[in-house]
């Protein structure tokens, strides 16, 4: 299962109407039951053989007590899990692919819990009624629910039973893509180094003065009178076009993995641009259509990219 842009893990929505029913939780299932069950059968079988060969009623009575212990230990956890209740007390609003997010979970009894979506390590609750569980999302998206695996082996710890519970998060969790290598770094003024492949228009901005030539400066920028006057190569210095933000288009074309990489690069690019003081307009596709809006922070860009879907060929701007 992976989160979709609509906020629900893939396949989970189908399951909600199916086997999980209205409870939004699966039936308790035993985990690694073969070992404990076979061990119990073998133990009781051996015990029965001893009782038979010794003919001693006490051996049989002890075996019955042992069987009682084993039966309780193997079956009661199913009820403990079935009756276990939990809900999300607090959850973060933002996350990043591969980075841990902590969800605050309230539980009704001592359990082992772990996030299945997004996946995370198992945590024991101990005596606490509220515990923190961590998960790392492997895909970007917006999650309104999480799936928690609740496990118990109460009261003896012989066999673990678990169930999956679909829990609404306290806030939608925007899982932003990782920050990838930025594209088109020479878009950022002041960072051009001549060796860049793409150039911006030479007529961008208004002349502010002259300065020493730096490798990469365009030939058109050379200010010959000043050069003649100073004896060294001088070029015009332009005002930054701050009022015109850069538009970063994120089409998310290609397959799923390619789209993920594009989103990562887009976030890297936007972050670089924002760090350089450049205004950025992010053009992304969303379930409601194409959105082209200015972003002011990497967090905002991350949320947009979390929601982003491939832009259809015939999509119009919103």
């Amino acid at each position: 299962m992976s989160p979709t842009a609509r906020g629900e893990p893939q396949g989970l929505a189908d399951e909600l109407a199916g086997p999980w029913g209205k409870r939004h939780e699966s039936r308790p299932r035993p985990r690694h039951a073969a070992g404990p069950v076979l061990g119990s059968i073998l133990t009781l079988g051996a015990w029965g053989a001893i009782a038979h060969n010794s003919g001693a009623g006490w051996v049989q009575a002890l075996g019955a007590i042992l069987a009682g212990f084993l039966a309780v230990g193997l079956v009661v956890p199913a009820f403990a899990v079935r009756l276990a209740r939990c809900h999300v007390v607090n959850s973060p609003t933002d996350g990043t692919v591969g980075e841990p997010v902590a969800v605050e979970l309230a539980v009704s009894r001592p359990l082992r819990v772990r996030l299945l979506v997004p996946p995370g390590p198992e945590t024991v609750t101990g005596n606490r009624s509220v515990c923190l569980i961590e998960g790392r999302s492997e895909h970007r998206g917006v999650m309104t629910h999480c799936v928690v695996v609740v496990a118990s082996a109460a009261p003896f710890g012989l066999l673990w039973w678990s169930k999956k519970v679909l829990l609404p998060l306290s806030h939608p969790l925007h899982v932003a893509p990782r920050r990838g290598e930025p594209d088109d770094v020479n878009l950022v003024q002041g960072r051009s180094a001549g060796e860049d492949r793409r150039r911006v228009s030479a007529r961008v901005g208004e002349p502010r003065g002259v300065r020493q030539y730096r490798p990469g400066d365009l030939r058109h920028w050379v200010h010959w009178p000043a050069t003649a006057h100073t004896g060294s190569l001088m070029v015009r210095e332009m005002e930054q076009p701050t009022s015109r933000p850069v538009t970063v288009r994120v089409p998310l074309s290609g397959g799923h993995e390619a789209a993920e990489r594009q989103a990562e690069r887009a976030l890297g690019t936007v972050s670089e641009l924002l760090a350089a003081g450049q205004g950025v307009i992010l053009l992304t596709g969303e379930p409601g259509g194409v959105v082209s809006e200015r972003v002011d922070s990497a967090q905002q860009a991350g949320r947009r990219l979390a929601r982003a879907v491939p832009i259809p060929a015939d999509a119009g701007l919103r």
């Binding site: 015990w47 060969n53 010794s54 009623g57 006490w58 002890l62 019955a64 009682g68």
Partner: protein
């Protein structure tokens, strides 16, 4: 993963276990199991004490070194285990009999204990402690295999209770140290007990495999001076004789078995367990039979003139007993009984029906022609022997189709002998009762039925005078008596009809103990009944006194019966007092736990009570000050002016949230004010006599828990 890798992974030490409760419970389980083995005589006292000390010391050491186990210690412990196994094999090679499990169980218990002691020094992790608990179960099994009475029950209860707490502590440790709640522990214990009880009730009683060598042992045995003599009593060696009469009813005369059976003397029988029997099916445990009747006493006489009464039986064990002439082996089934002597008594070898083999650990055994068997030694408490019998269980139809013929003349004469001149009325009565009965079996049944209808069972009968005839007195006089009078009357009536019959004495099966799978035969189970000869099937028992069940009782019914018996014997008054004290203590503890732990919480409670007294409904989400404001508003204008609830609530909230804690004097003053407020609220409500519609509302969280 390769096999070696898998083995390494399986043996990789787990994380250190820090739960002290789990460790203590695991240690105690082992200690109790060792003590259980000691109680069953499998371990001697010195070894037991040393083992318990070492197990405790080992577990303390393991807890101390749980974070850093010593690698060289493992090697040392492994060496100790190897030595233990070596000792075990040497021991069973020397002492044990092939196929005889009972000779292995002692060394096995010692081996298990040695392993537990060794293991105790290397139990750093949870898994190791789990192994300790499982190991204690094997020790308990070793003890249980030897248990023949209910003493082990105490150890089982303690072991199971500690095991339950231990396993729950293990679970608690698995989930990060969750607190064990008494209610959860109690419910789990009930679940285990119910399931265990159901399994005990549903499972058939275990039966010893017939392929092993049967257990035998002699305790306190002394070779008897006279061969085939009957001895017993407290020391087991003095000759047994009929008791002397005492008192008007002659109670106290019969204290065991004797050569003659004097029906004029009644036994004084207690409920002491005299022996226990493990048997395939319940039946009469036959001790002696008598053929000669003189009007007041039964005695054994040689069937042939000048012949010996008792003859030595070949070599044994096992001693082979020939099947009686006239009995068809194909009409019988084998039945094995093992007798565990609990009280030193007569040297009679008890058995069921026709004995064929006797496993008795002595060189001599004596047999009378009527199948009465006597040991050549005394039988002390703790002696064990096993008898295989051939039991014929013909149906009524089969018995109707046969006759009481087939005996040799001498035998027939011996078993039909009665002083006829004395029993003319008896013979006439018997003929009248059986006039319409076509066969011997129906005659026996008709006579039994007549006795059942016309006589009363009681042990409180007047003493029989010397020279008075037991049967005539019973049938034509008092018609009251107990097993001896009843069975003797039947035997005499049958003999008067020419049907061979003899008096048999021994024990009824006794109460069945499903936990030990043994019949606990008590002294009061001593009984007398009649045996009638039928061709092909041999001597068949008829009990005109009581009904003898023909099948094993179900464990459930036996358990319920035993439980009811035990319940009736309980000292109810002390138990009620103890339960009452426990209940009172529980109530006090509960009340103490519910007591507010801070001054702010106490004030909150007072204000809530005052609000309830005033008839206000409580809202758990409402701040205390808001509730106090409502209370002030409610009380305004009702009765004399009093303290402001809002002031009190604000003081409580300031204290709860750490803003300002009032000094002790102020606290006392404010608490007094709160109590006064409650009184005022109660008075205001009484004055109104109107009940608030809200009723009792749920308690609100205290500001003492911000």
């Amino acid at each position: 993963m390769s096999l070696v890798g898998a083995v390494k992974a399986a043996n990789r030490p787990g994380p250190a276990e820090h739960s002290i409760l789990f460790r203590v419970a695991a240690t105690l389980c082992v200690v109790v199991a060792i003590a259980a083995c000691w109680s069953e005589g499998e371990l001697n006292t010195t070894f037991t004490v040393a083992s318990i000390i070492l197990v405790i010391a080992g577990n303390v050491f393991s807890y101390w070194r749980r974070e850093q186990p010593l690698p060289w210690l493992k090697l040392l412990l492994a060496l100790a285990v190897v030595v233990s196994f070596f000792w075990f094999f040497v021991s069973i090679t020397k002492r044990s009999t092939f196929g005889n499990l009972s000779t292995v169980e002692g060394p096995l218990a010692v081996l298990f204990t040695l392993i537990q002691v060794t293991h105790a020094f290397d139990v750093p992790s949870r898994r190791d402690l789990g192994f300790s608990m499982a190991g204690s179960a094997t020790l308990m099994a070793a003890a249980a295999a030897q248990a023949v009475d209910s003493t082990l029950g105490l150890y089982v209860i303690v072991w199971a209770a500690i095991g339950l707490v231990g396993m729950m502590a293990m679970w608690s440790s698995m989930v990060g140290g969750a607190r064990l709640r008494g209610r959860t522990v109690g419910l789990t214990a009930v679940a285990v007990l119910v399931l265990g009880g159901l399994i005990v009730a549903l499972l058939p009683a275990p039966r010893a495999s017939s392929t092993i060598v049967f257990p035998t042992s002699l305790a306190g045995d002394v070779e008897l001076p006279s061969q085939g003599s009957l001895a017993g009593g407290s020391s087991g060696t003095q000759p047994l004789a009929p008791g002397s009469s005492a008192g008007p009813t002659r109670v106290g005369g019969f204290l065991g078995f004797a050569g003659p059976l004097d029906t004029a003397i009644r036994g004084s029988l207690g409920n002491q367990v005299v022996f226990r029997v493990r048997a395939d099916r319940p039946t009469f445990w036959l001790a002696e039979t008598f053929n000669a009747w003189d009007g007041q006493s039964w005695s054994q006489t040689p069937l042939r003139k000048n012949g010996p009464l008792f003859q030595s039986v070949g070599q044994g064990p096992p001693f082979q007993i020939p099947l009686a002439q006239g009995v068809d082996p194909r009409a019988t089934v084998p039945d094995i009984q093992t007798f565990y002597v609990a009280v030193t008594g007569a040297n009679l070898i008890l058995h069921a029906a026709e004995p064929t083999e006797v496993w008795f650990p002595a060189s001599s055994l004596y047999l009378a022609p009527d199948d009465t068997m006597r040991a050549g030694t005394s039988l002390g408490s703790g002696s064990v022997y096993t008898v295989q019998s051939n039991v014929a269980t013909p149906s009524p139809a089969e018995l109707r189709s046969t006759t009481s013929g087939g005996l040799f003349n001498a035998e027939y004469s011996a078993y039909t002998q009665i002083p006829l001149h004395r029993y003319a009325r008896v013979a006439a009565l018997a003929r009248r009762i059986t006039a319409n009965q076509p066969n011997d079996y129906d005659k026996v049944v008709a006579l039994e039925a007549w006795i059942g209808e016309h006589t009363k069972y009681t042990t409180n009968i007047p003493a029989l005078k010397r020279g008075q005839d037991t049967v005539n007195d019973f049938l034509f006089g008092t018609r009251r008596g107990y097993c001896e009078q009843i069975s003797t009357s039947l035997a005499v009536m049958l003999r008067s009809l020419g049907i061979p019959a003899r008096e048999a004495v021994g024990y009824v099966p006794g109460p069945y103990n499903p936990l030990t799978d043994l019949y606990d035969v008590q002294a009061r189970d001593a009984h007398a009944w009649v045996q009638v000869w039928f061709a092909k099937y041999g001597w068949q028992s008829f009990d005109p006194t009581a009904f003898v069940p023909t099948a094993n009782p179900t464990p459930a019914s036996a358990l319920a019966h035993d439980a009811w018996d035990a319940l009736r014997k309980l000292p109810l008054v002390p138990i009620a007092v103890i339960l009452g004290l426990l209940l009172a203590a529980s109530v006090l503890v509960h009340a103490w736990r519910r007591q507010p732990k801070t001054w702010a919480a106490a004030m909150t409670r007072q204000l809530e009570r005052a609000s309830r007294s005033a008839g206000l409904a409580l809202d758990p989400t409402e701040p205390l000050s808001a509730l106090a404001f409502r209370l002030d508003t409610h009380l305004a204008g009702r009765g004399p002016p009093g303290p402001s609830a809002l002031d009190l609530a604000l003081a409580a909230e300031r204290a709860a949230y750490g803003v300002a804690e009032p000094d002790a004097t102020t606290k006392r003053y404010l608490s007094k004010q709160a109590r006064g407020l409650r009184r005022r609220a109660r008075q205001s409500r009484a004055g109104r006599s109107v009940r608030s519609a809200g009723g009792r509302a749920p308690p609100r969280s205290s500001p003492a828990q911000p």
